[in-house]
Amino acid sequence: MVTAILLTIWAIICIFDILGPTVIMGFRPLIAGTGAGLIVGDLNLGMAVGATLELTALGVYTYGGATIPDYQTGAIIGTALAAAGAGDFAAKTATGLAIGLPAAVLLASLDPIGRFLPTFWIHRADGYAAEGNSGGLSLMHWTAFIPWAAVRAIPTFLAALAGSTATVQNLQNAIPKGFVDGMTLVGAILPAVGFAMLLKIMPVGRYWYMLLIGFVLFAYLKVPLLGIALFGLAIAFLFETLRPRTAVGSAPPPTPASPVSGEAV
């Protein structure tokens, strides 16, 4: 019970962090899982579950308010239930992934509720603003966090409470080996979605050959990732230094046909 309450508080801290101070990135599975590991008394397990989920979620961020899997709750629940399970470290980590990843995807359906409900709060805030009531405005701002917290805190609490040792071991026994193989593959290929999402917001059409540079450096020349990043930095500087200044910006370069275009801005 105490553990369940602590995990719930941790879930609220994690989502508060990304909406506000953003100093620990608590909503990322690596951090959420590590914290959950500390709470359940198995730090290494929390790190392993969190880090495995993290690699499936690289580049998966909310762009413009889109809903993404709730990796935070997935990592916390996965770690908590895996700690209650049986088996060696590797078996527990596999359990954490087998529970955490589906949980993250399924619980994503709650996220839109947390994003929708504060709409009522902002209409109240409109009223307070018209009255010049700064206390009311502040109250609406802070309490609008309740739906955000609730859609993560409630599933975390319920799962942690239900996850007794016996329940989890039954669950573990019920998971077929093929499913674990499948989950392992899912963990290894999900980063593709993260990278595809990143590429979608980047001008691939214009700079596709930059991808090729990184690929060749890794696939053929076996350059480590830090080396690729440093090389990329050099190319980026080179590219921007050599670019003619007039080519930058939306304003077309002055043409002789328009006599007024010579004015300096």
């Binding site: 990135m25 990322r28 951090i31 589906p102 593959l185 979605v193 980047m202």
Partner: protein, 291 residues
Amino acid sequence: MTTTNAPTGKLERRDLLASFWRYFWSFQISWNYERMQALGFAYAMEPVLRKLFPNDADYEAALERHLVFFNTNPVVGAPLIIGSAIAMEEAGAPASAEGVKIALMGPLAGVGDTIIWALYNSIIFTIGASLALQQNVLGPIFVIVFVAIPYTVARYWQFMWAYSQGRSLATSLASGALERVTEGATILGLIVIGGFIPSIVHIVTTFDYQQTLTVTGPTGTQQVTNKVPVQTQLDAILPFMLPVLLTALVYWLLKRYNLNPLWAIAVVFVFGIIVGWLGWFAPALPVVAAK
């Protein structure tokens, strides 16, 4: 709204800090589908507006005009826009404040999402997760240090810089510096992603086929049957072909059909479970003893 009376108050550093800390602690906690970061923006502006407009009617009008739709990157973008909006309100140019919000939120969201989420975080978290997988507690600590310090410094600096730039901010940003930084970061990001894809996405096929060769040796001619893994053939054509194809396929689905990312994840999830369960594909080929 341009009929608002000119502000009569004078801002001190204390007022700026009050606004900054409101932004810092709680900017997005009231995020909602209808107006996204609007309430957070108004909440951050409130102490400054109270100071600038002692007249209640002006103050109320000012609060209302900052409760309109707003959304940008919360780390790179929002502090810059708040700082500059404060400077313009102080200068008695609320229309300019609205203009700068509308003009900058989209481009800065693009810059911020690319630089902070896509590029910086992916690198930091890949390193942190790799350390954590080796049961090294420095992994998560590394991530927190490289998030907390640079983020906070960058947010504070943007806020104060934008305020001090005031009206000349638009000129500074329009000089092309912003575009150059974005272009540079984009190029760096694409090169890194080009290397990330083969190093982090792991999928190989476990299919193989029988190959019968007729070998003529000193003991005479004999038929030798070998199992040849399909993966070896693929590697000979292009290393990491399957991870690249998979990423390209998901990109195409997202781009062409504007597929919701959640659906893309669900599709890959189901695909992975099925082909992994059937044993057709795996993260890596099992290590076979030589010969």
